[in-house]
């Protein structure tokens, strides 16, 4: 497969939740491509169907219409080429397994030999600076550290695309800044392809090369913003660049417009 073909391709995605009482169109019509090496942030107001989009992307929910392809294959069940980092770190790590075992389990199920597995786990824990915590249980660690374990698990899995669902929404501001920088470092060092879902505009502009702004549901893409702030990005410098301010204002206005135009739900 050539490098120019999209790793993730979303084509006229539509999702309707139907029950006896009501019919809710969560996603109207979404199309976008993610290429190898992209860092794409998806930002939208609360209720923008971000979670629905993510569940469709990860094969946990079937689309009503349209299709999603990952690495060329249509998604009908969770794709093997994708690793997910959930917002609820406390509920996505196995509390009965140590940090090492948590990172190792998916590799084991893939049938990777023990020695190689050990090296991959070591490298992943080292990448998130948790080499010393391998034998701890996740619940013995702080929230930020737990989320780093989840990131290490995703990194060790060596996916074609890594999807993060509001991963830093539940940690304090300082930890959040550190985790953002960790993500940028991992992305540039390990040649990752990242889809990062967030409700935080600053975070989206700070991290992404590209920011997709979603409308309220039924979701469409309101704006597709290319972020050309030259790297390396740093918390202190990047956030005071005029380009950063301009882009965050553009995204902010987009989201305000999305909220204002929110159609009354029937």
């Amino acid at each position: 497969m050539d490098d120019l073909a999209p790793v993730v391709s979303v084509d006229h995605l539509n999702k309707v939740y139907e029950s006896k009482e009501r019919r809710v169109e969560a996603i109207g019509d979404l199309s976008f491509d993610v290429r190898h090496g992209d860092f794409t942030c998806i930002v939208g107001p609360s209720g923008a169907g971000k979670t629905t989009l993510l569940k469709c992307l990860s094969g946990l929910l079937a689309p009503t219409r349209g299709s999603i392809r990952v690495n060329g294959h249509e998604v009908t069940s969770p794709p093997e080429e994708m690793a997910i980092v959930f917002q609820e770190y406390g509920r996505s790590l196995f509390p009965w397994k140590t940090v090492r075992e948590n990172v190792e389990l998916p590799l084991r199920e893939r049938g990777i030999a023990k020695d190689k597995r050990r090296a991959m786990v070591d490298a992943a824990l080292d990448a998130v600076a948790l080499s010393d915590a391998g034998n701890s249980y996740p619940w013995q660690l702080s929230g930020g550290m737990q989320q780093r374990v989840a990131i290490a698990r995703a990194v060790a899995y060596q996916p074609k695309v890594m999807v993060l669902d509001e991963p830093f929404a539940a940690v304090d501001a300082q930890t959040r800044a550190d985790l953002e920088d960790l993500m940028l470092r991992l992305w540039s060092e390990l040649d990752l392809t990242v889809i990062f879902v967030t409700h935080d505009i600053d975070e989206a502009v700070y991290l992404g090369q590209r920011v997709l702004v979603l409308s309220s549901s039924p979701t469409r893409i309101l704006d597709d913003v290319r972020v050309d702030i030259p790297g390396p990005r740093t918390q202190a410098q990047t956030r005071i660049e005029p380009e950063f301010a301009a882009l965050r204002t553009r995204v902010y206005r987009g989201i305000q417009a999305a909220k204002a135009s929110k159609a009354p739900q029937g």
């Binding site: 094969g59 093997e80 196995f94 009965w96 389990l105 199920e109 893939r110 619940w139």
Partner: protein, 259 residues
């Protein structure tokens, strides 16, 4: 962990020892036929249970209990996982389960004696029939309540089939399963004794009935004492097992309480 466990054990043994001493002193001058002095009971205890009867009665009882109990654990957990992970199956069988659970297993002893005779098979069946319910129903609860985010984690990381069962479902349900197993163990001991009282040539229950019928009251009491120690030893062993299996769970819970 082991040292802490032993220290706790010492604290817990203090009161029983005080009670035994009191009983020993107070009963020393007893002339009541049904309540002999503890010294007489202990004398019989030494002679009977630390000797031949340990092998001819305690061991057979233990073997029956273990056979029935382990079978109940296996069946309860396997069926519980099946029922717990299929909502439709659960709806279909839950009323039936509640009905069978409501029948005291002792009521089935006469029937089982007729159909299976006086042998071990009957006693093991009774133990299984009684001990399985708390294990089965708690396993169903545990499996039903597994975390949805962990479930999605398994799905996205391609952890399926037996691996999912072993690394996710079983440990996630284990706090519930262990509660069921603890209840099942006490039910199993009761049923072991009762089934042996009904029909057996050896075993603790049979020995107690034998001494009662021959009016050997101190011997009978020594059997009751042996039974108490038997149950105590098993519950200690169970606690050790619990610490090993659920170490992560207690660690996590203690941490949450402190916050």
């Amino acid at each position: 962990m082991i040292a802490a466990f032993l220290r706790k054990l010492a604290v817990e043994l203090a009161l029983p020892l005080i009670l035994l001493t009191l009983l020993y002193l107070l009963s020393a001058s007893s002339t009541n036929f049904y309540f002999p002095p503890l010294s007489a009971v202990l004398e019989k205890f030494n002679a009977l249970w630390l000797g031949k009867r340990f092998f001819s009665d305690v061991i057979p009882s233990f073997q029956r209990l273990m056979a029935g109990y382990l079978l109940a654990c296996l069946l309860g957990v396997v069926l519980g996982i099946l029922i717990g992970s299929h909502a439709a199956l659960r709806r279909a069988v839950e009323p039936v389960l509640e009905f069978f659970r409501a029948i005291p297993p002792v009521a089935m002893i006469p029937l089982l004696i007729m159909s299976m005779g006086f042998g071990d098979a009957m006693k093991i069946t009774i133990i299984v029939a009684g001990a399985i319910w708390p294990i089965l129903l708690n396993t169903v609860e545990g499996v039903k309540g597994v975390d949805s985010v962990l479930d999605e984690t398994c799905r996205t990381y391609q952890i399926k089939g037996m691996a999912r069962l072993w690394h996710f479902i079983l440990p996630a349900a284990s706090p519930h399963i262990v509660v069921g197993m603890r209840l099942g163990l006490s039910i199993g001991i009761v049923l072991m004794v009762i089934s042996e009282m009904f029909a057996a040539l050896d075993g603790l229950g049979s020995a107690i009935i034998y001494f009662q019928r021959s009016y050997e009251i101190p011997q009978m009491w020594s059997g009751v004492l042996m039974l108490g120690l038997f149950g105590f030893a098993l519950s200690m062993a169970f606690r050790l097992f619990e610490r090993l299996v659920l170490g992560w769970y207690y660690g996590m819970r203690n941490l949450e309480r402190r916050d």
